[in-house]
Symmetry: C2
Subunit: 339 residues, 2 copies
Amino acid sequence: MTAPAAVRPRRGRLAAAEYIKGVLAGDRVMLARAITVIESELAADAALAREILDGVIHATGHARRVGITGVPGAGKSTFIDALGLHIIHQRKENLAVLSVDPSSPISHGSILGDKTRMERLSQEEAAYIRPSPARNHLGGVARRTRETILLCEAAGFRNVFVETVGVGQSETAVRSMTDFFLLIMIAGAGDELQGIKRGIIEMTDLMAVNKADGDNKLRAERARVEYASALHLFPPTPEGWTPLVVACSSLTGEGLPEIWDAVLDHRQALESNGYLARRRQQQVLAWMRELIADGLEDLFRQHPEVRGHLPRVERDVQDGRMTSFGAAQTLLALFRAKE
Amino acid sequence: MTAPAAVRPRRGRLAAAEYIKGVLAGDRVMLARAITVIESELAADAALAREILDGVIHATGHARRVGITGVPGAGKSTFIDALGLHIIHQRKENLAVLSVDPSSPISHGSILGDKTRMERLSQEEAAYIRPSPARNHLGGVARRTRETILLCEAAGFRNVFVETVGVGQSETAVRSMTDFFLLIMIAGAGDELQGIKRGIIEMTDLMAVNKADGDNKLRAERARVEYASALHLFPPTPEGWTPLVVACSSLTGEGLPEIWDAVLDHRQALESNGYLARRRQQQVLAWMRELIADGLEDLFRQHPEVRGHLPRVERDVQDGRMTSFGAAQTLLALFRAKE
């Protein structure tokens, strides 16, 4: 194949046009290869990645993007497995499952998205499961996940899940790239949510009380009622959605249709009131501004004068010897001065 | 008086040393004048303001900083009036009351902190009430309020309230400059919190169900029980505090001692586990980083190439023609190129 002048692909890489064509045709192999280019850290792949994304972006935006987090032990993987099967067999739609796991060590795959934990789903042709890109910082993982969402949509996926462990800052990142946020929990002794960060409640659109089966069924229903009453006291989300609490079982499948109906209702409502489009716009603009701020901060921190003074200035501020404003003024003046 | 070479005060301004001396001595008149210098927009006052703050900062940090917000109509002013009197007469301590109100028009004072709304408190020698600085953007107001807190502490105030209307982004700003956050509400029909933003619940340390008197007393108590149960289901704050719900009356004074005890308990707990010091350090560092980021963004936006391309790039991102990452890369490259 001939490579266009703008992109000199490295060995093993194809021309951008090949990836674009394959992704848009829904070719699963080309999709996986395109995602690998996106996930690459190599400078040589950066231009290729941009070209691929530029070539497919017109075909994105249509999927339902659902963020999923869970209290440890709540059975998130089996839940996704069961819900995924429902979407594929009952709703006759396809599904991509991505993960954000910044703790994923570089040499091993993430435990999230591990196909053995979503055993039945990983056998389904209509499902595509991709483990978290391995990075040592959340920003890098989040960026690639966002771009992978776009690739999956361009490849024709109607539904994209992005799952996350309930620790670190992953949830805020995932929330900012999805339309609907789902929290998986299990019934306990009123302490169900003690393991997670407070801010997660605020961003949740639906709480699923999992393992509502067998001996646990009554307790799950009680927890559902408790949390539903509690949530009802709090203000609705800015787009006018009152979060639901649904009891469910990955074993029996009970509650899963209800949960997916809620996702669809939410989508419907947000499309009707224009909020979906508005939020998506806010998300991409906010993401751009965040990337710009990160880039500016890098420039700032690399400036020799700033680098020299920053540690001491931070200590002075921290120990109450200098005001934050005075410190900022001092450092910005150093940055602005000619090098 | 002779002005030190570093500061040439404008007409009507004293030397920095005068303000510093007066504030540290608890001179109310000098405190007010120092705050006026802080609040000034004039470039000529900026150096003087910094010098004053540098001169008093060693005497700050000891006060209890309490943020107060309220559902519209919940009686926030009369609450502060009554709680203030309790602190002064029952606890024998002093109190400064500041406000953050970015909507305050430049030519008129803020309706917050209006002495006629805290009638009894404004008569008290041990109370100092200052209306919100008038600015057209929150950042300017927030910065001056933070600095005013420092001045009030240096002047010997043991307790500093910062009140805010329940709209805009004021609450997040106030939360980031205080130790304890109080939400005033009234009993309704389960819809008590419908008027406020969801994020405020998450940052609240105590909900005060106000107007628990006369015919309303029973309803207030019912609301208190409902909200207490609801809050108990959610995770505690990172510092291990479970938010309280207390019914109170500005009329009868009932509940106010309990509320102030909670503020003291919270303070005690956070001092014991080292969290107060840690949080204060996080707050001042975060504030410094925010100011730096703002300064960098200003530089970025003023760059001629960036200014020229930014509107179109933002439209392209918003309309899905360009990825956020590609846009950020493009604009940062323009910024980094030599002017």
